[in-house]
């Protein structure tokens, strides 16, 4: 063993805590908007109407919970894989501080209706600039740590991390280009069909660079740590990596099938979406094969449960996604509740499951204590799993039902159902979905309590020793 490197982990802990806070807010707002869809009387004040709250939910979810904990994990993983302390702990502290100010201002401005409306790029230009700055500061810190590394080999997780750093920067900057009118309002630099094409090039690759690449980096790092098995095939990981980041960028127009976007762009998007199954499943198989001889841990080790369940949802997600990218299927489910079903299997299943596992693991190493309650962690697992399954399954049923009603025609070519008939049919599902939200929230509450208690336990044993 080499002399132990001193790692800097205060900001890791800081980002974890704050991402949990923003994640809880995302889920609570998610529950509120799901209730509003069933009971519109709950739109009680202008800043609490569905149209203003939905972007708060998605931004708190993706930026607050997702990116917040990715930053924590990237700081953690990069230091360990490079055997090098973080390049600048001070910069990391500043980054956390700006991060929180930015997410809080995002929530406030969105509630005020300051909104560019481009999905996942809703924030007005001053805030968008701050978000870009946060990302650049964070990227520099990680990248400099890698440059100064003591371990020459770069493990596959570092590849994914660096790709995310570059990818997110390019995407975010381009889709946010605009002309300011005043401090709180700007107009997009692009118009109409061009704007739509840029938006979904961004939108889909936000899925790639934020909701796929970082959790994969985390997965590749923690699964071997948890199981003690090395990753099954580094080579397969590398091939999957390059083909993944190559193919993703062609597929944005699968969000725009049957619209005025030129046909060939739609067709190319469709073809590349289907090809994406290969690299996606490359990662899934790599995960499964790493488990060789260890499958009994699915029963005995709660961390393995989170990781393997997470990668399984990723596998399902990357089969369902390509299906949705096919024109005929898209005609059926685009614009319906099917899509939120897909989205939440990805966010509540894949992304969150992997993060839960990683955060448990990191909490035990940072606090130096065993997890406070394994039983509680297992209950947490089942609650979020059941909550997510109910959410996604009800929405798939609702989507298929509404989709087929909307397309149904009479023999003479006229429509069989009015819009409202199709909507009344799905109200029961909206109510069940709201219930699923509470189940998920209960799981999340147990998780947070468990993490809190574990840190507390660590503190106590440290003071006891001192």
């Amino acid at each position: 063993m080499n002399a132990k490197t001193q790692y800097y982990d205060d900001s890791v802990k800081g980002f974890i805590i704050w991402s949990l806070i923003w994640g809880t807010i995302a889920v609570v707002v998610g529950i509120l908007i799901s209730l509003q869809l069933a009971w519109p009387q709950l739109n009680v004040a202008p800043y609490l109407t569905y149209g203003r709250l939905r972007p708060i939910h998605t931004n708190a979810g993706i930026f607050g919970w997702g990116i917040g904990s990715f930053i924590a994990m990237f700081f953690y993983i990069t230091q360990r894989l490079t055997k090098t302390p973080l390049w600048s702990p001070k910069l990391a502290r500043v980054t956390l501080w700006i991060f929180n100010v930015a997410i809080a201002s995002a929530a406030v401005t969105l509630a005020m209706g300051i909104n560019r409306t481009k999905e996942y790029a809703e924030l007005e230009w001053p805030l968008a600039i701050i978000v870009a700055i946060i990302w650049v500061l964070f990227s520099i810190n990680v990248f400099m740590t890698i440059l100064k590394r003591k371990e020459e080999q770069m493990y596959i997780s570092l590849w994914y991390i660096m790709a995310a750093l570059v990818g997110v920067t390019v995407l975010y900057v381009v889709n946010n280009l605009g002309v300011p009118l005043h401090l709180f309002k700007s107009y997009s630099a692009f118009a109409g069909t061009n704007d739509a094409n840029v938006q979904w090039w961004y939108g889909h690759n936000a899925v790639a660079m934020v909701l796929t690449v970082p959790p994969l980096a985390i997965f590749y790092y923690f699964l071997p740590k948890i199981t003690g098995n090395p990753i099954y095939s580094h080579r397969m990981g590398i091939i999957a990596f390059w083909s993944l980041i190559f193919m993703y960028l062609w597929t944005g127009a699968h969000h725009l099938l049957w619209t005025p976007i030129p046909d060939w762009i739609q067709t190319v998007a469709m073809a590349f979406s289907i090809m994406l199954i290969a690299p996606s499943w490359g990662a899934v198989m790599n995960g499964y094969l790493t488990m060789n001889g260890q499958w009994e841990k699915m029963k005995s080790n709660y961390l393995v449960k989170f990781m393997i369940c997470g990668i399984t949802f990723y596998g399902l997600q990357t089969l369902q996604g390509p299906m949705q990218a096919i024109r005929s299927f898209s005609a059926f489910i685009h614009y319906t509740d099917w899509v939120p079903g897909h989205v939440h299997m990805g966010t509540m299943g894949w992304v969150s499951m992997v993060l839960f596992g990683a955060i448990y693991y990191v909490t035990t190493t940072l606090s130096g204590a065993e997890i406070y309650s394994v039983k509680m962690a297992n209950t947490h697992f089942w609650l979020v799993l059941v909550g997510q399954l109910i959410y996604s399954i009800t929405m798939w049923i609702a989507g298929v039902q509404q989709g087929s009603m909307l397309l149904a025609t009479n023999p003479d070519g006229t429509l069989h159902y009015s819009f409202m008939e199709t909507m009344i049919a799905i109200f029961p599902y909206y109510k069940i979905r709201a219930v699923s939200g509470f189940v998920y929230l209960a799981g999340l509450a147990l998780f947070i309590y468990n993490i809190y208690k574990t840190f507390q336990k660590g503190e106590e044993s440290k003071t006891a020793k001192a």
Partner: protein
């Protein structure tokens, strides 16, 4: 080499992601919104309409409403309102686009054709209290838009977006509420391109100028459901009259009623239905209306 040099690695990663980006995102700028896409009739927004559009963005209506009629037959039938599917040229003044990704509510790309009333009475009632018009709707109430419109930036917006405007357009903003602006925007959507409906189509439908449905009981269920789908939001669920007059019986002849329903009285807020209802259906509704004639 690659495994060891992070600088080369990120340059390579950048190049790899730029391939698809260049071909599917950057290159299309060459022809999208070019001369081939332009539609001469499509006009930029007036100051009032643009204010309305900005309010639509502020309220996040795009989270529930899409604005593109896809090329699918069922989309054209449901949301075309006599027009066809959406074309690229209809959006050249939209910064940003508002196509949306969810249809919690109906598509609004051509909503101006559905409610032609110049006074926007239906929209006003609906925006203030959607459930008073469509009881099962889950759209939030927007009565809070009944406040004076802030016009501080209206002219700057026109300049920045390079839209033509006149002093009269600016004067038109005086005394307007936010509600007026958003209704002006709703009324503009889809109406630039003229739709050939009116008389030609209507007379085509008229040949069987006598009502084929004498037996009311046989069609009553159908007729009531058609009425509640298409008419109740203005004439009341029980035909008692709300925005439009009561339709419990009528002194008008069957043929006259047919003509009104088919062609509408657009200037007074009664839409034409010759594109959304076929002959049989209109006759069924006529039969229902005449049912209570005393």
């Amino acid at each position: 080499m690659l495994e060891k040099n992070p600088v080369i690695f990120i340059i390579l990663a950048f190049v790899v992601i730029m391939v698809g980006t260049s071909i599917t995102m950057i290159a299309p700028f060459k022809w999208i919104n070019g001369p081939g896409d332009m539609i001469a009739e499509v006009k930029p927004y007036t100051p009032l309409q643009q204010e309305g559009r900005d309010l639509y963005m502020r309220e996040g209506c795009n989270n529930c409403h899409s604005q593109t009629v896809r090329t699918l037959a069922s989309d054209v039938e449901r949301y075309g309102y006599g027009g066809t599917y959406s074309k690229s040229g209809e959006f050249v003044y939209d910064r940003p686009h508002l196509w949306g990704s969810r249809r919690t509510g109906p598509d609004l790309a051509h909503i101006g054709l559905k409610y032609p009333d110049p006074k926007g009475a239906w929209h006003r009632k609906h925006m203030e209290n959607p459930q008073s018009v469509v009881p099962a709707s889950n759209m939030p109430s927007y009565a809070f838009l009944n406040v004076p419109l802030d016009t501080t930036y209206s002219e700057r917006k026109m300049k920045l977006l390079k839209f033509p405007y006149t002093q009269a357009d600016l004067n038109d903003l005086k005394g307007k509420s936010e509600m007026d602006a958003i209704i002006a925007y709703m009324r503009k959507l889809g109406t630039d391109i003229p739709v050939k409906k009116a008389d030609a189509a209507a007379t085509q439908v008229l040949p069987t100028a006598s009502n084929p449905f004498k037996d009311v009981e046989a069609i009553e269920k159908d007729a009531k459901s058609l009425f509640s789908q298409h008419c109740a939001s203005c004439h009341g669920e029980k035909r008692e009259g709300t925005l439009g007059p009561a339709l419990k019986g009528s002194a008008k002849s069957d043929a006259d009623l047919f003509k009104i329903i088919s062609q509408g009285i657009e200037a007074n807020g009664m839409p034409s239905f010759n594109t959304s209802l076929d002959e049989q259906k209109i006759w069924k509704i006529v039969t229902l209306i005449k049912l209570d004639t005393k």
